[in-house]
């Protein structure tokens, strides 16, 4: 699932500005672009060394460079993942969404090309590629997956003649996968993490995030048409007669979800089981689950799901802490990361009744004692893990 996001605002602003100036002062032919006029009026500047190396015919792939590794996270989050230590999320003074994914920039050179088709595949023979038709020789692609080897190639058309580039390759850094849904904060895919079984959690089947209060048409399109979400699991409170803002075809399940040690409350038992049972039915996937901020109730459920799947404790905590890179999770109610990690620690202690067993084993034992069956645990695992 690859999706392109246009970045046109700056271009539009620039266009309006140019229009206004030209309206206001017609005939004022000042130089534009990057040309620096000399006294004689001729452009100057250093020769474009890259241009002299470019072929006059054929297609040359430029970025990403062959065998390059690119991160799909911001530089700040990439460093955080590389040097991960619990409780070490850098904070900013003002709320800023810092967990949005970073698209991969592609560029190539084809002299005189009228248009190009960019092909991206996970196979060196370029089978089953994702394709992009563009008039430019640069494009930004989002929704690539972390921890993957990709191959890419460009087919250009110049004066009706097709020209194909060599196949180039790049890797994406193996990080958590954050996701952009316009109007929704704190979104990520819980997939991609390695588990005790040697299998990874599948990408593209379980998304977590904040609520849909600011969701607009563009966001609905992304969630439904691109991510393919089939079920909205709303953890805020159990309500009747409500339907998902994603549309009529989307299954809506609501529970008054417990969070942190609240899962131990007898009053919350049915809600706990109901939210987990959503993940037993393969027909429900892909699932988007959320509370208001996507941190506490959502974080508790993500903790349980990842633990059932056999994800390491470090990766479970990393998934939780990403909320503190979002404008919602880390700021809106003034809760500090240290305080909330303390709450998560209490949850872990509640579950880790037998210190000789793993988090996965203890979580399974806890949930079976709470009323989930072994068959239900197995169905959740089967749905979450790669085949």
């Amino acid at each position: 699932m690859i999706f392109f996001r246009k970045v046109i605002s700056a271009v539009l602003i620039a266009a309006v500005f140019v229009t206004l100036v030209s309206c206001a002062a017609p005939g004022n032919d000042t130089p534009s672009g990057n040309e620096i006029p000399t006294e004689s009026g001729a452009p100057t500047g250093a020769p474009d060394e890259e241009a002299t190396l470019r072929p006059e015919t054929g297609v040359l792939t430029e970025k990403p460079e062959n065998n390059e590794t690119v991160s799909l996270l911001t530089a700040e989050m990439t460093e955080w993942v590389k040097n991960y230590k619990t409780g070490n999320v850098p904070q900013t003074a003002q709320p800023v969404e810092r967990c949005e994914p970073v698209p991969v920039s592609f560029s190539w050179h084809c002299q005189g090309a009228d248009y190009s088709t960019l092909l991206i595949s996970e196979s060196p023979d370029m089978s089953s590629p994702e394709a992009y038709l563009t008039l430019d020789q640069t494009i930004e692609v989002e929704d690539l997956l972390p921890g993957r080897q990709y191959y890419w190639q460009v087919v250009c058309s110049a004066d009706g003649e097709k020209q194909k580039s060599e196949v180039s390759s790049f890797k994406t850094l193996d990080t958590p996968r954050t996701v952009y849904i316009p109007g929704v904060s704190n979104v990520r895919d819980i997939g991609g993490r390695m588990t005790s079984s040697g299998k990874r959690v599948r990408y593209g089947i379980v998304y977590r995030g904040a609520d849909f209060a600011n969701l607009k048409e563009e966001g609905i399109k992304k969630a439904v048409d691109i991510l393919g979400i089939r079920t909205e699991l709303d953890l805020r409170s159990k309500v009747k007669g409500v339907r998902s803002p994603l549309g009529k075809g989307i299954k809506y399940v609501s529970v008054t979800a417990p969070y942190y040690t609240g899962i131990a409350s007898n009053d919350s038992k049915e809600d706990l089981l109901e939210e987990l049972r959503v993940f037993c039915d393969p027909e429900n996937y892909p699932v988007y689950f959320h509370c208001s901020l996507g941190r506490d109730r959502t974080g508790t459920l993500a903790f349980l799901l990842l633990a059932i799947a056999g994800v390491s404790e470090q990766d479970v905590y990393m998934d939780y802490e990403i909320s503190f890179f979002s404008d919602f999770g880390g700021y809106i109610d003034g809760a500090s990361l240290a305080t909330m990690l303390e709450q998560l620690g209490y949850l872990k202690n509640l579950i880790m009744k037998d210190k000789t067993l793993s988090l996965e084993e203890n979580t399974v034992n806890y949930l079976i004692a709470a009323g989930l069956t072994e068959a239900e645990i197995e169905s959740i695992r089967a749905n979450l893990l790669e085949g």
Binding site: F4, A24, L133, S157, A213, N214, D333
Partner: protein
């Protein structure tokens, strides 16, 4: 000059709005609209069995505990109950709101009242029922707290009052009275107009004139919109310029009514009739079926930066916006500000192989 303005909620229009919202929470169908309704209200368990807004006279007749000052909200419910108010029509920027005052009367079986845009889930403030059986004055203040009650326009919008009752309580009653908004002191300094253009502007007929102008108000730390006040009959029915000589007064007003102006002259010449030119040679484009078209066509014009629109023939794109297999027509239109346009029809062939 210091000015403190207090807006009261005792307007009939607001009263009606609030009563409608309270009523709408009673039925299942209406409830379905609450989480994602026009005010972005979220799911809240704080729906009341009944909310009544009494006039002063009615309140006396209904036996509301004395001590109220005007219209009174009576809220009845079980474990949790509440109501919402809507300030949107008042268009009050939250940055000029200093505090929200209200009075609350708890019964003996209530624990607290919460105020927020989502009182069932979170709260901006919570006030504990320390004095049951009396009217208690409550103030919600603080820049960060008030900001959280903003709507999409950054104005004070819809927000709720949610009561938490003691465990097991049914048919509980509480009252809220005198919800008022206190604004910050005003200033008497007008916004500063910054105009990045010549004092005499030359343009052509048939266009809307948008000038590079902005207005910054240091006191309120924000930009205000600039109004164009034209001399004579400068605009046609669509707001486009007519040929002639004019002056335009650029006027900006801050939240407290302080006003700045700047006057410039405008010469409007005859209408431009030259269409933009689209810079794309091929009549046919060949690509892979399933490709996502990301087509930034370029066009130039003798006067303007043309606007470019794309229209695909029916069935060209799937729901993800990718090209279905087959031959499709893409209509590219480049238009200038006067309305002159060039239209190109391009055949896009999407095949299984490339």
């Amino acid at each position: 000059m210091r000015r403190i303005r207090v807006f009261s909620l005792l307007l009939a229009i607001l009263l009606i709005t609030t009563m409608m919202q309270a009523n709408s929470a009673k039925t299942g169908d209406a409830l379905a609209e609450i989480p994602y309704g026009k005010h972005n209200s979220k799911v809240s368990p704080y729906t009341s069995k009944k909310t009544i807004v009494y006039s002063e006279e009615e309140a006396f007749a209904a036996g509301v505990p004395t001590g109220f000052s005007g219209y009174v909200y009576e809220i009845k419910g079980d474990g949790a109950m509440g109501f919402t108010v809507d300030f949107s029509d008042r268009r009050l920027p939250v940055r000029i709101v200093k505090a929200i005052h209200f009075r609350v009367y708890y019964g003996t079986d209530q624990r607290e009242v919460r105020v927020s845009i989502d009182a069932g889930v979170s709260w901006v403030m919570r006030h504990e029922a320390t004095k049951p059986g009396t009217w208690d004055d409550v103030v919600l203040k603080g820049e960060n707290e008030i900001k959280k009650l903003a709507n999409e326009d950054r104005n004070l919008g819809v927000f709720g009052f949610g009561f938490r009752n003691n465990e097991g309580v049914t048919n509980s009653t509480a009252y809220v009275d005198a919800i008022t908004v206190e604004l910050f002191d005003g200033d008497d300094v007008p916004p500063v107009i910054t105009y990045d253009g010549p004092d005499h502007v030359v343009t052509t007929a048939g266009k809307q004139l948008i000038l590079p102008v902005s207005a910054w108000d240091e006191g309120e730390k924000q930009y205000f919109s600039v109004e164009y006040v034209w001399s004579g009959d400068a605009l046609d029915g669509e707001g486009k310029m007519k040929e002639g000589e004019y002056s335009v007064t650029l006027r900006a007003k801050d939240s407290y009514g302080n006003t700045s102006e700047k006057v410039i002259s405008v010469t409007v010449g005859p209408k431009d009739t030259e269409a933009p030119v689209i810079h794309f040679a091929p009549d046919t484009v060949e690509t892979l079926a399933g490709a996502l078209p990301v087509l930034n066509f370029k066009a130039t014009d003798n006067e303007d930066e043309p606007e470019i629109t794309l229209e695909w023939s029916e069935g060209a794109l799937d729901k993800k916006g990718r090209l279905n297999e087959g031959a499709h027509t893409l209509t590219v239109t480049a238009s200038d500000l006067t309305g002159n346009s060039q239209v190109r029809e391009i055949t896009v062939k999407a095949a299984p192989d490339i």
